[in-house]
């Protein structure tokens, strides 16, 4: 047989572990090119519109930062959970409840102009996200309920609650019946950092979170416990690490980060509450976390790439008339190729006759 075969490696191949995201990105690009070509676009033109044009101006670079920061925050929180196999896939919902809590505070103090308002909103957002994440944590630790399904169901609920609020009690009376809240006052908005861009103070938050998460995951004993619980739950039980504590910790942390990201979004580029405040950041963050190998630095790069894909999708929509969903296709492909390439961490590819075939008479 001349088919390539997979052969298990005696030890995991660490180079492949770090190379496979790059290989995955390259393959996703290749497939993207084929996709563009099949739609009748010159791949080079499309690529230029997708990847170059969005970042060829200061404004565009600012947009990358603006989109990367919620992704980075959400993904950092998720990575903590994913490391101990706590599959919180409801970051979208926690993002939304964070935005509701923070935004609600802004709406409750229309004339608040103190410096306290923004920090209080961030805190409220964190609490809002945590409250939403606490439900799956409670259900899993107390009733053994899969956090995958409960956190996801709660995402749908959170989106409906937000929709209810902006259609109902929080609707702007002067808003021509549009489903939207009042605009936040200046004191409830993150100040712009660089003129000519929309980059605001909230973009600094993930960079404060990043080293903290790095310390937690890579240097602290709690991070070690998280890692053990993910790799070998029986070993964690043997060592006496409390699974319930780790489930609570990772869900609350993920919820808090997603909630803060929600506040950043509504008190940043949006400036009010709308039915749709997230273009799927909570789900894209899942991909970002995997693509970044659940490592804080990797997640930083992955979030930048993902932000670029978002912008590229918008860009080709405007310049080529392609649907925005092309970004979603790219994101999915990226994760598929990553999962596929990861096989080389554990296996090597062998061509030619294998040892088993050689014994044929």
């Amino acid at each position: 047989m001349m088919l390539p075969r997979l052969e298990q490696r005696a030890e995991a191949f660490w180079v492949a572990r770090y190379l496979s995201p790059f290989l995955a990105a390259a393959l996703a690009l290749l497939c993207g090119g084929l996709l563009f070509a099949s739609l009748g676009y010159d791949p080079l033109v499309a690529f230029h519109a997708f990847f170059i044009k969005p970042v060829s101006s200061l404004y565009g670079l600012g947009e990358v930062a603006l989109k990367a920061s919620p992704l980075l925050l959400c993904a950092l929180g998720l990575a903590v959970g994913f490391r101990c196999k706590v599959w919180n896939i409801g970051a979208e919902g926690q993002f939304t409840t964070g935005a509701i809590a923070g935004g609600g505070l802004a709406l409750a103090f229309p004339h608040g102009n103190g410096l306290w308002l923004l920090p209080a909103m961030i805190l409220a957002g964190a609490l809002g996200g945590m409250a939403w994440a606490a439900i799956p944590a409670f259900l899993r630790t107390r009733f053994n309920t899969s956090e995958i399904l409960s956190s996801l169901m709660l995402s749908y609920v959170a989106l409906l609650v937000l929709s209810y609020l902006v259609h109902g009690p929080w609707r702007d009376p002067a808003g021509f019946n549009f489903p939207q809240s009042r605009q936040f006052e200046d004191a409830a908005l993150f100040p712009i950092l660089f003129a000519g861009t929309r980059v605001n103070l909230s973009c600094a938050l993930p960079f404060a979170a990043l080293p903290a998460v790095w310390m937690l995951l890579e240097r602290s004993f709690i991070g070690f416990q998280i890692k053990v619980a993910g790799l070998a739950p029986a070993a964690a039980a043997y060592a006496g690490f409390k699974e319930t504590h780790l489930v609570w910790l990772s869900l609350l942390l993920g919820g808090a980060f997603a909630g803060i990201a929600g506040v950043d979004e509504v008190a940043g580029p949006i400036g009010q509450l709308l039915p749709n405040i997230s273009p799927g950041y909570g789900f894209a963050a899942i991909i970002v976390a995997f693509l970044g190998r659940l490592h804080p630095l990797g997640i930083l790069f992955a979030s930048l790439l993902m932000a670029l894909i978002y912008l590229g999708g918008e860009s080709v929509q405007v310049s080529l008339g392609l649907p925005l969903a092309v970004a979603g296709v790219f994101q999915g492909m990226l994760l598929f190729f990553l999962l596929g390439c990861d096989v080389f961490v554990r296996y090597r590819l062998r061509f030619g006759p294998g040892a088993a075939a050689a014994s044929s008479p």
């Binding site: 240097r219 070690f224 070998a232 088993a356």
Partner: protein, 540 residues
């Protein structure tokens, strides 16, 4: 007879033995071997499991395949049964060269196999399990009748309608055996069948095997227990390090000479401890009752035990009688209903978890080494943190990696762990080295009470002896040691007292000096069959 056609070059390593085999054949000229292997080799990424192995089994012969753990016995029988494919070599069935590419083909030839780790499906019934193993198509009801008839013919009691997870280990083995017998096999392979049986159950198994051989069925009997091979088998092939090291008639050998063929060197003296006056009670269990967490597990029923400082207490029993649950309850992974149920060094710890008990001087070598005692993807240095984190490896919530490395290096040095360095992942260690690493990690924490589950499981004789010596040394230093093992010989060798666990109950401990293996065996089996249908059938 058709001598295997072979490539001399590939056989040079085993030429001497090949000659011995030829002489053997001359002796039995005219008889075609039922199975003959010629130069079988199998390589895995990290080892050469089988290195040019020759073997032949005659019709109606009880043939032993002897060897230590890791000698390549299991790989070889998996090749014969078609589960694993050889890289090199030829297999002859009744004189014809065959390629056994699947178990289904092996079964069609007439090969049946009883695996060491049973290939049974817990949630399926006996009849469904048997249907899966015999290429059966047709009505289940007819199959059930057929099962009853076959089981009856060989004096084995078996109810086809019961679900496997309700069966004892001995009964499960019966399912496997009946499954093979239903196919009227011409060669039956038994992989370490007595590891899970009481001595009395083993004796019953032997009579079934003798009955089969008398009817012309060949039996390939894999074991590392020399006494049973000497009493059961007519011929033995001995493997060492993946090669055939000897072939003999075990009835004419002594246990010592067989051990030499198996181990390759003189077997050293045992670690039997001198009598020793035990100190005060270190670990006490007071009437502990605990329902199993696993629906297929055993509930613990009124467990009472008292372990003193300066003694080794052994817990014997057939697998699946509550050992796992007892170990979890003692280590603190399962909490007792009340604090007083478990007392450690005088303190009630029934409601304390593993970390709390460890902080009070308990150390624990778990049943499963990889995935429980160590994380396979993590380095040895990181794996020290798993239990030694109280020994100064963590400061202000941060890990002191330097200290962890030092500890790992010390374990590797003191306990002779062969590894690529303390940064190599635990999963890359061989079973024996991992075992030594875990035992070493627990011992270096100077525990006052050590619980060790199957401390020498899977180890070769030398490494096993090292660990036995360490356990005895710990006892002599005044610590209390509890050893749980299914290997009765091991317990008799190192323990001061032995208790038997059966159906979730623990017998009173007896002094080893005042009891016999037979008596303990009766406790293991007698208790397990108490009030049990299977037991009555067996007696009949």
């Amino acid at each position: 007879m058709a001598p295997p056609v072979s490539n001399e070059d590939s056989r040079d390593k085993s030429r001497g033995i090949g000659k011995a085999m030829m002489e053997d054949r001359d002796r039995q000229a005219g008889v075609t071997p039922r199975l003959a292997l010629d130069g079988i080799s199998k390589r895995y990424p990290d080892c050469l499991a089988n290195d040019h192995i020759d073997l032949e089994v005659l019709p109606g012969e009880l043939h032993a395949l002897l060897g230590e753990n890791g000698a390549g016995k299991s790989t070889l029988v998996k090749i014969i049964y078609g589960v694993v494919h050889a890289d090199e070599g030829t297999t002859f069935w009744e004189g014809e060269a065959v390629k056994i590419l699947s178990p289904a083909f092996a079964r069609r030839l007439g090969i049946g196999m009883v695996f060491q780790h049973f290939t049974l499906f817990e949630s399926l019934t006996v009849a469904e399990n048997i249907a899966l193993g015999i290429d059966h198509s047709g009505e289940m009801r007819a199959l059930s009748e057929h099962i009853r008839a076959t089981a009856h013919r060989y004096g084995l009691a078996l109810d086809p309608e019961r679900t496997v997870h309700d069966l004892s280990v001995g009964e499960r083995q019966r399912v496997e055996i009946v499954r093979c017998l239903m196919q009227a096999p011409r060669l039956l392979i038994m992989d370490e069948p007595t590891a899970v049986l009481t001595p009395q159950e083993a004796e019953r198994l032997f009579s079934t095997l003798r009955q089969l051989a008398a009817q012309g069925c060949s039996v390939l009997y894999i074991s590392h227990k020399l006494d049973e091979v000497r009493s059961l088998c007519e011929r033995a092939t001995v493997l060492r390090g993946g090669r055939v090291s000897a072939e003999c008639d075990p009835r004419r050998e002594t246990t010592g000479s067989l051990a030499r063929m198996m181990v390759g060197s003189e077997v050293v003296a045992t670690a039997r401890p001198l009598p020793h006056a035990p100190g005060p009670e270190a670990l006490v269990v007071n009437g502990l009752r605990l329902a199993a967490a696993d629906p297929f597990g055993s509930d613990l029923n009124d467990i009472r035990l008292s372990l003193r400082e300066g003694e080794i207490l052994g817990i014997a029993g057939v697998a699946g009688n509550g050992q796992t649950e007892l170990l979890l309850a003692l280590a603190g992974e399962r909490l007792a209903p009340a604090p007083e149920d478990v007392r450690l060094l005088g303190e009630p710890v029934g409601r304390l978890g593993p970390a709390g008990r460890r902080a009070r001087g308990l150390a624990f070598v778990p049943e499963d080494k990889l995935g429980r005692g160590a994380v396979s993807e993590m380095s040895m240095a990181e794996n020290t943190l798993l239990t030694a984190y109280l020994a100064g490896l963590v400061r202000c919530g941060l890990i002191r990696f330097g200290r962890a490395r030092e500890l790992a290096e010390r374990i590797a040095r003191d306990f002779d762990v062969a590894a690529g360095g303390v940064d190599s992942p635990a999963g890359s260690l061989s079973g024996g080295n991992l075992q030594k690493f875990i035992v070493g990690r627990e011992l270096l924490q100077r525990p006052r009470v050590l619980i060790a589950a199957h401390p020498t499981w899977g180890l070769d004789v030398g490494a096993g002896l090292t660990i036995h010596r360490e356990l005895v040394a710990l006892r002599d230093a005044g610590a209390a040691v509890l050893v749980v093992s299914e290997d009765l010989d091991e317990l008799v060798e190192i323990c001061d007292r032995i208790a038997v666990i059966s159906k979730g109950r623990l017998s009173a401990a007896r002094r080893v000096a005042e009891t016999t293996s037979e008596e303990i065996g009766l406790l293991m089996g007698g208790l397990s069959d108490e009030g049990h249908a299977g037991g009555r059938h067996d007696a009949a």
